[in-house]
């Protein structure tokens, strides 16, 4: 820290930072607490909120579509349309309505999760074999009991698989959101891109990648824990 020049409004920079070498561990060490760690926490928050809200909406819609087939198409078409809007465009287009706020980011992120979760939940609910449904009816289970005790447990792997894809893609999209609303890991990425400061680009980029992979692994583990019968079958 003490061997380099002094940059105005910034303080002392190491010669590594001043020369903008590929990667300066000292910068990461000095700015972990003030820049990187808060960005990671913020990113996790953005993602968790978006996936949770998206899940509630898409899950309800899938239940409805499962019960009444005619609701499938409208929701499917709507969510697919949202899904095709390029991320950078949607974040900017929402600003006139929701302002330069977290709300803008969340509305867009929630919108992108809908299609994936809806499709997976619905496909999962429909994956119950006819024999099983027949058996449930034979045992005298009501429609609601069949859903809660037969169809939903059988749909669980597909539901968690959908949550996985939704979570990792939300983590990715949330980095792009920072172009419009400086929040999360995209904030240091865009800031560093503006100044072409390599260390910060690499540090924040790697953190975003690690976060996505960590979320993916966590959800696989959750999937295994929630569906022990699936791994038993895999072993058989």
């Amino acid at each position: 820290m003490t061997d380099g020049p002094v940059i105005p409004d910034f303080g002392k920079a190491s010669s590594c930072v001043a020369e903008n070498r590929l990667f300066c561990p000292d910068w990461v060490r000095d700015n972990w607490g003030s820049v990187l760690q808060p960005a990671v926490v913020q990113h996790v928050k953005l993602t968790v909120i978006a996936v949770a809200v998206g899940f509630v909406i898409a899950f309800a819609a899938a239940l409805l579509a499962h019960r009444h087939g005619r609701f499938e198409r409208p929701f499917s078409v709507f969510s697919a349309l949202v899904y095709t809007i390029p991320g950078i465009a949607l974040f900017q287009l929402l600003v006139p309505f929701t302002g330069l706020s977290i709300l803008t980011v969340e509305v867009a992120l929630v919108g992108y999760t809908l299609l994936i979760i809806f499709r997976n939940v619905l496909e999962g609910l429909r994956s119950a074999p006819p024999e099983v449904l027949e058996a449930a009816r034979g045992m005298g289970l009501t429609r609601r009991q069949t859903l809660l005790r037969v169809e939903l447990p059988l749909a669980l792997p597909a539901i968690v698989a959908g949550l996985r894809v939704a979570t990792v893609s939300t983590i990715a999209l949330a980095t792009i959101a920072a172009f419009v609303v400086p929040e999360g890991l995209g904030r240091p990425i865009f800031a560093a891109l503006r100044d072409y400061f390599k260390t910060e680009i690499i540090a924040a980029g790697v953190l975003a990648i690690l976060l996505a992979i960590a979320a993916d692994v966590l959800l696989v583990l959750a999937q295994r824990a929630l569906t022990p019968w699936a791994s038993a079958r895999r072993l058989a």
Binding site: P86, G87, I88, Y196, K198, A204, G205, I209, D216
Partner: protein, 229 residues
Amino acid sequence: MNTFSGALEFIVDRRELLLDKTLEHLVLSGAALAVALLIAVPVGVFLGHLHRGSFLAINLANVGRALPSLAVIALGLGFLGFGFTNVLVALVILAVPPILTNAYVAVDGVEAEAVEAARGMGMTPWQILRRVELPLALPLLFAGIRTSAVYVVASATLAAIAGGGGLGEILFNQASYRVEGLVGAALVVSALAFAADLALGGVQRALTPRGMRGRVSALEADVTRAGTA
């Protein structure tokens, strides 16, 4: 609705700019997809033929899907600097996993009886690959290429931040092109992704052996499960 008609006006008035940027976008996406195909198809098909490396093939897809495209492009910028090459490398990294995994799953999943029968007929391993495994694997292999193509066209909008050109230059520059330009360019990007999916879907149908048509969607459902298992 004013914005929307403004966007359509933008598309008409600035068609030369849009055409320019669309071409850049297509060249970039096409190049990335071509390189990814050259890498991923042989490796995936070969591993599937040998029934080896399932861990690599399946997990590569999961990690690949998890990679945030902006982070990958930003990293490319850090290491390779501004320009076409950096973005191309980043897009290839994003495009390879779905193709490789689908190629692997497709060839690996060809019914053992069919392969056995081919062997019984005296086919060499090369003939088995070319005349039995590949035709049967094509629909699923193409499903992977479609996924990749749509993903690459969408991600290529981020190329603009790294000096890679394309329609992203309009999307990232609302100050110059206003909201009408933003919506106009977004429409073009969506249309491109949609068109790429449709075109590849057509190729997929044409390449699918006649006896297998209609089974394609069931197969596609299979790979999602295999990929997420």
